[in-house]
Every structure is written in C-alpha cells, then in structure tokens.
C-alpha cells in the first residue's frame, strides 16, 4: 500500500539541496552572481585559491581588518569609498556626474595605502583605529582630501557591469550612511549620473532593464 518511491524522490532532493548549500557555504564568496558579470578591468583580481572563505582559521597575512569605508571629500563635491579585504584595497571616487575612478592597491600593516587607477589617478590614505580612512585623491588634475567612515550595510560600495542589447554598462555607487547615493553609470564609455539602486537588494533599472549592483571587494 505504501509506496516509497515518492519519499525517496523527496529525500534525494533534500540531499541535493543540502549538498549544494554546503558547497555554497564552503566555496562561495568568490564568483560572480546572478545577472552581473564581474568587472572587466581587474587584472589584479586574485586567484581564487588565495581567498579563504572563512575568516578565522586562515593565516591572515595582514592585521588590517576586512571592512568597508565610505565618505565625502572635504569640499563635499564627491564621494569616496574604500573596501578592504585581506590586506588589499579597492576604492571608488565619484562626483555623481562625470568624474569617477576605480583604484586598487595594497594596504600596509600600519594602515597606510597607496591606490592607483586609470589615467594616473591616485589615492593616498591612512586607516585610523579601524574606524575611518582619511587621505587624498588626485584625479584628472584635481586634488581632494577626504574622510571615509566605516560603512555598515547597506551603506558601502556597489558595482554593476552588464551588457544589455550590445550596450556595455558599468555602474558604480557609493551609498553613504545617511542613505544618499553617489553614482555614475557609464554606457559604452560615456558617463552620466546613475539611477538610484535599492541598497537592500542592489536592484537598479537601467534603460528599462533590471540590473543588480553587488558589493565590491578587492
């Protein structure tokens, strides 16, 4: 009277699900995700093996804690966000209209960093007590001083890159702790102010299409 086939089917599904979940939990954190392709630029992108999925047992080569920082330039014209992971940093400078730069580099053990980006852009900063990064950005002939406080989700640094109907989109967003967003969306190399993202999900509508901006890590 009782057939066991359906139960076995359910059980197999459950096992597959748990197996996938454990795979995700152990190997996650390193690949692109739904609907967003990884940014095309980073040749500095690390081989996945150097990344440890769990923060604790790995021999941490840097005393710098992994964290995100976001703030404004002192002249209030632009925003700066820095994301630190395992002694490496990626930063985004953005005025919300047409001037932006992605910068990368290493963080020294004393918390100082010198990040560089395209076109000679340079960020010099120092991490103070793990609470904020202050420093300078030189970009396109301009010189800016900034202070970026530690950012708690959903504030932080987001990026979305995608190709929609053969148009290349590259968007960067800094979500500040008061909730305001500073972002630029580049379409086929032409920058313009970015539409707002939903900071909870990263969802953003671009040219009528739904994209997802993801938190940026070096």
């Amino acid at each position: 009277m009782k057939r066991s086939g359906p139960l076995l089917t359910l059980l197999a599904g459950l096992l597959v699900g748990l197996f996938m979940l454990s795979l995700n939990a152990t190997t996650g954190e390193k690949k692109t995700s739904a609907s967003v392709e990884e940014s095309p630029s980073p040749k500095a992108s690390p081989p996945p093996t150097t990344r440890s999925p769990s923060p604790s047992p790995s021999p941490s080569k840097s005393p710098i804690p992994n964290a995100d920082y976001a703030g404004r330039t002192d002249d209030d014209s632009s925003a700066v966000a820095v994301s630190l992971r395992d002694g490496r940093a990626i930063a985004y400078f953005c005025d919300g209209r047409d001037k932006e730069s992605w910068l990368k580099g290493d963080v020294e053990d004393d918390g100082s960093m010198k990040l560089t980006g395209k076109g000679g852009a340079e960020l010099n900063g120092t991490l103070k007590q793990g609470k904020r990064i202050s420093g300078t950005v030189d970009i396109g002939g301009g010189h800016y001083t900034f202070t970026a406080d530690k950012a708690i989700k959903p504030s932080g640094l987001y990026r979305a890159t995608a190709t929609v109907r053969s148009a290349k989109f590259d968007g960067g967003w800094i979500v500040l702790k008061d909730g305001t967003q500073v972002g630029i969306l580049t379409k086929n190399g032409k920058p313009s102010p970015a539409p707002e993202i939903d900071p909870a999900t990263g969802a953003v509508t671009v040219d009528g299409e739904q994209l997802t901006a993801r938190p940026v890590t070096p």
């Binding site: 699900g17 995700n24 609907s35």
Partner: protein, 194 residues
C-alpha cells in the same frame, strides 16, 4: 472493509470515526508538510542575509545563466510530465511505459530544480521589490511545498480521482510561472547566452 451482517445496523454510526481519522490524515499530513516546506523556505530566504554570491559552474558566464538553463531543463521535463500524465489518464494515446516516463521525468525535473532553488535562496533570498520578483519568490516557495504534497499524496491509495491531477496541475502551473519570471526574463534581458 469487512462488514459483520449482525452488526450492520448499529455498526454504521461508530465506524466513521475510525475510518475518518486515517483518511483525514491522508490529506492533512501532505497539506501540513507542504505548508511547512513552503513557509520554511520563505522564512529562510527572508531572514538570512543573502550572500549575493555563490559558486559558479565552469563554462557559464554567470550563475544566472546556469540557473536559467537548469530551469529550462526542468520546464522541459515538466512538459513531458504534463503529456505523460494525459497518457496515464487516457486522454492521449500513449505507450504502456507512460507511467514510468511520468515518474522519472518528474524526478529529473525536481532534482534539476533543487540546485536552482538553493542558489536563489542562498544568494538572493526572498525578495519583493518588484512584481516579477515577488511572484517568483512566492511561487518558488509554493512549488516545493506543492511538490512535497504531491509526493506524499502518491503514497495513499483511494484518493478522489480528481485530487492528483489538481495538485499535479498546481505544481506544473507554479513551475511554469517561476520559469517565465526568471529564465525567460533572463534570456530576454541578457540574451540566450551560456
């Protein structure tokens, strides 16, 4: 059921409670399990912080592409399901092995759908920020609940003849809408890409 002719007159009122309980459990257990599965998935997706990322398969540009193709495979098997079900119920001429086909295409569809759901719930979570996303989230949870109910109902015999087709139809309809709101959307947005 055996009937004692001597007890027939007074036996009538008392048996129903006895026979009623197992038959009520026949529906109640699948229904409760279905509700529990659907709610548990939804709560997990809502409560846990979406990871945003998950591992990807080699050869695919993004997990979105992987999921869309897996979901499309699931939909294909679901169509096989629908057809083979019609054969089993004699609505379509079919081979004698149509019930085996139904069983195994169902298993295949389910097992292919599971990794997709795991990724959805792990990396993206239960979201409601858009109509498409809302229905996808809701029906995604509903699908696995309804499927569990369908599997459990299969274990009881003497069900009303309309029950399995209804539940199966619900499962099929849910999966179709899930596919329309995810894979089809993905292919239309990003192109039919791997």
């Amino acid at each position: 059921m055996t009937v004692d002719p001597n007890a027939a007159t007074q036996g009538f009122p008392s048996p129903p409670p006895d026979h009623h309980r197992p038959s009520a459990a026949r529906y109640l257990v699948p229904a409760l399990v279905a509700a529990a599965v659907a709610v548990a998935l939804g709560v997990y997706g809502k409560v846990h912080d979406p990871a945003g990322t998950a591992f990807n398969l080699a050869g695919f540009s993004s997990t979105g592409a992987v999921k869309s193709w897996l979901a499309t495979v699931a939909i294909f098997f679901a169509l096989v399901q629908f057809t083979s079900a019609l054969m089993m119920y004699g609505k379509l001429p079919g081979p004698s092995w149509s019930s085996t086909l139904h069983r195994w295409s169902g298993r295949a569809a389910f097992l292919v759908a599971v990794p997709v759901a795991v990724h959805c719930l792990y990396a993206l979570g239960y979201q409601t920020y858009e109509t498409r996303v809302f229905w996808h989230s809701l029906l995604g949870c509903f699908f696995f609940g309804a499927f569990s109910a369908k599997m459990l109902l299969l274990r009881s015999e003497r069900l009303p003849h309309w029950l399995l087709p209804i539940v199966g139809g619900l499962v099929f309809a849910a999966l179709t809408i899930i596919w329309l709101t995810s894979a089809l959307w993905f292919f239309r947005t990003f192109g039919v890409t791997t």
